[in-house]
């Protein structure tokens, strides 16, 4: 019976051929490690966000008079509303974490190098889009935390010299955060960003498919030393079949992702809900400690530290450009980061600085 269905499909779409070439014969390098699953996890994380987001959309009302109450109703009145909301909130933070970890591991394994520069660029832009997702979604529950964190973050662009105020004006739809801001953030979060994000993620995945999975330098002679003056898809003829070896890895990492998510929902349900997150927004009352979400704390703190606004924002723009364009700047052929102490040192230093700024930004 099962066989009959498979044969039926095979005749029409070439199922056997597809499975054989794309899944079984698809070879992955022998020294593949667990960090290779992080990209897949980011995709799963996005799928969870999209699904729970659509589910929340069914009851959420995007107007300041009703937004808070609708979210409270989802949490308290709608059956299992709390489950989907918690998944969405925890998931958003987990997704950003996974994306950052993925970026760090790709960097350390040198898998951004030629011919994978565009892949890195696509991934970097996806990370930025994810952060914009997070920041636009932050406003939607219309709580004290949402309102004031958004006020602070939408003022950060004013540091740009000439266009800064206009950028902030367009973001907020006015001088202050109002229902106009809520509407546009809602449109951004729900309708504008998803197709853009999917496009960049699609490009990213397409490129990975075309170029082939890279081999990490650890434990293997670096094959990428050849000049690469023409296109050649990277294959691993003596590698492991994607199914079952890597597929299983991806699966249990996915289970681990959900286990972490539900661990947080069970034991740390208020991790992302400080007191201000449960009070309706009050434009006349600023809570004592306003600050943006953790993933925006480091840029925020950096802006606060550097006394010259222009200087402050320019440094951030430069760092961002270096980050996105890194594969174009680092053309050194050696992929093994263990053999490049300076790069390792600088990278670890920058990462530590980012973490330090993050914690510093938490205490006003």
């Amino acid at each position: 019976m099962w066989k009959k269905m498979k044969t039926w499909l095979d005749v029409r779409i070439g199922l056997n051929d597809f499975v054989r070439t794309k899944i079984v014969d698809y070879r992955i390098p022998k020294n593949i490690n667990i960090f290779y699953t992080l990209g897949f996890l980011a995709v799963i994380a996005y799928a969870v966000q999209a699904f729970t987001g659509i589910v929340l959309l069914i009851y959420y009302i995007p107007h300041p008079d009703h937004a808070f109450k609708s979210v409270q109703d989802i949490m308290a009145k709608v059956p299992y509303g709390w489950l989907f909301r918690q998944m969405h909130v925890v998931g958003s933070n987990l997704m950003i974490t996974v994306a950052i970890l993925h970026m760090i591991t790709v960097f350390l394994m040198g898998n951004y190098k030629r011919p994978r520069e565009l892949t890195w660029l696509g991934g970097g832009i996806s990370l930025l889009l994810t952060i914009i997702f997070g920041f636009s979604g932050y406003l939607l529950p219309w709580t004290q935390l949402s309102y004031w964190a958004t006020t602070v973050v939408t003022s950060m662009p004013t540091a740009f010299p000439v266009i800064g105020d206009s950028i902030a004006l367009i973001l907020r739809g006015g001088d202050q955060v109002t229902e106009v801001t809520l509407s546009r953030f809602f449109a951004l979060h729900v309708a504008i960003l998803p197709p853009i994000f999917l496009t960049f993620m699609g490009i990213h995945l397409l490129l990975i498919n075309r170029i082939g999975i890279s081999a990490t330098p650890f434990g293997m002679v670096d094959e990428e030393k050849r000049p690469l003056t023409e296109y050649k898809r990277k294959t691993h003829p003596d590698g492991y079949p994607y199914y079952p070896v890597f597929f299983q890895k991806q699966m249990y990492m996915m289970m681990a992702y959900f286990a972490v998510m539900f661990f947080i929902v069970t034991f740390l349900p208020n991790l992302f809900f400080p007191e201000e997150a449960n009070l309706p927004a009050d434009p006349f009352k600023t809570p004592p400690h306003i600050r943006p979400a953790w993933y925006l704390l480091a840029p925020y703190q950096l802006l606060k530290l550097i006394p010259n606004k222009f200087f402050g924002i320019t440094i951030q723009m430069i760092l961002l450009t270096i980050f996105l364009a890194w594969p174009f700047l680092d053309t050194y052929q050696e992929k093994n980061v263990l053999k490049r102490p300076i790069l390792r040192g600088v990278f670890i230093f920058l990462l530590v600085m980012w973490v330090v700024l993050l914690f510093w930004g938490r205490n006003p």
Partner: protein, 283 residues
């Protein structure tokens, strides 16, 4: 290449020097916009009365008010004393409602501009009647203070306060009559606070609790123990309703914890099993 970088660096350095602001300037612009921090509008009453040119007692008044529950709820000078807080010419003008310091006898009506329920009960009470007959009697300020007014609590009824005029016996009986309900209200308030921290915003119950508490305390101002005792059951049943709601919410929260714990275990279990099932590279 290096010339390009040099040129860019100089190009970059130029505007930096131009807009080289100082830290205070930056902080002022970025951190203290009108929306951030206090939306302090010029309240002329406070600017004069808190200035060094005024008598020290006036300054103390402003300081005392700043600590009060009124101040925390944005009730300031003009709400009680009248006058125009924005226009110096009319700040203390009787045509703009300025009342100044009320006479001892008139304090209940002064506070009763807003606290109307309490005013009506107070005037019916022994205290109120004595006050209006110009006998020795308390007014609002006697127990609650004038500017540093805090949230009312049962401890306002104490031996030191009440024995100013009569023996403590009567006050003690009253305190006992109030005690259990006050305690229960405090506990329910605590529970609601906890729920808020758990992410539930129990608006209806909060309002109901406040309303019950307000009615109860308003009733107290009649200082009629029998009246309070006769209505205690009524208040208790209102509190029971709120309590039931809160308990139901706690049960719901427990269910949620169990449900998500179950999901966590299921996913961890599946992860472990897939790991065990996985073909190692050596296979």
């Amino acid at each position: 290449m290096r010339y390009l970088i040099l040129a860019l660096a100089m190009l970059f350095a130029l505007p930096s020097t131009g807009t080289a602001g100082y830290r205070e300037d930056f902080e002022k612009e970025f951190m203290t916009k009108t929306w951030a921090g206090e939306q302090v509008e010029e309240n002329l009453c406070i600017s004069c009365h808190a200035s060094d040119k005024m008598k020290p007692e006036f300054k103390e008044t402003v300081d005392a008010w700043k600590e009060s529950w009124h101040a925390q709820n944005n009730i300031s000078c003009e709400n009680c004393h009248g006058g125009d807080p924005k226009d110096a010419e009319f700040a203390m003008s009787p045509q703009h409602g300025f009342v100044g310091v009320p006479q001892y006898k008139d304090v209940p009506e002064f506070c009763g501009k807003c606290h109307i329920g309490i005013l009506s009960h107070f005037l019916e009470s022994g205290h109120g009647k004595a006050l209006k007959a110009s006998r020795k009697a308390p007014n609002c300020v006697t127990c609650h203070g004038s500017h540093n007014i805090q949230k009312a609590s049962i401890d306002i009824i104490n031996e030191q306060q009440c024995t100013k005029c009569h023996s403590y016996e009567r006050a003690k009986i009253m305190k006992v009559a109030l005690f259990l309900i006050e305690k229960r209200i405090a506990q329910l308030e605590q529970n609601l606070q906890t729920l808020k921290q758990e992410g539930i915003y129990p608006e209806a119950d909060e309002k109901s609790l406040f309303s019950t508490q307000a009615e109860f305390r308003t009733l107290f101002h009649t200082v009629d123990v029998n009246l309070i005792r006769s209505r205690t059951d009524e208040f208790t049943s209102k509190l029971d309703v709120i309590d039931r709601d809160i308990q139901a919410t706690y049960r719901d929260l427990r269910f949620r914890k169990n449900f998500s714990a179950f999901l966590m275990l299921a996913f961890s279990g599946m992860g472990v099993i897939i790991f065990l099932l996985s073909t190692t590279k050596r296979d």
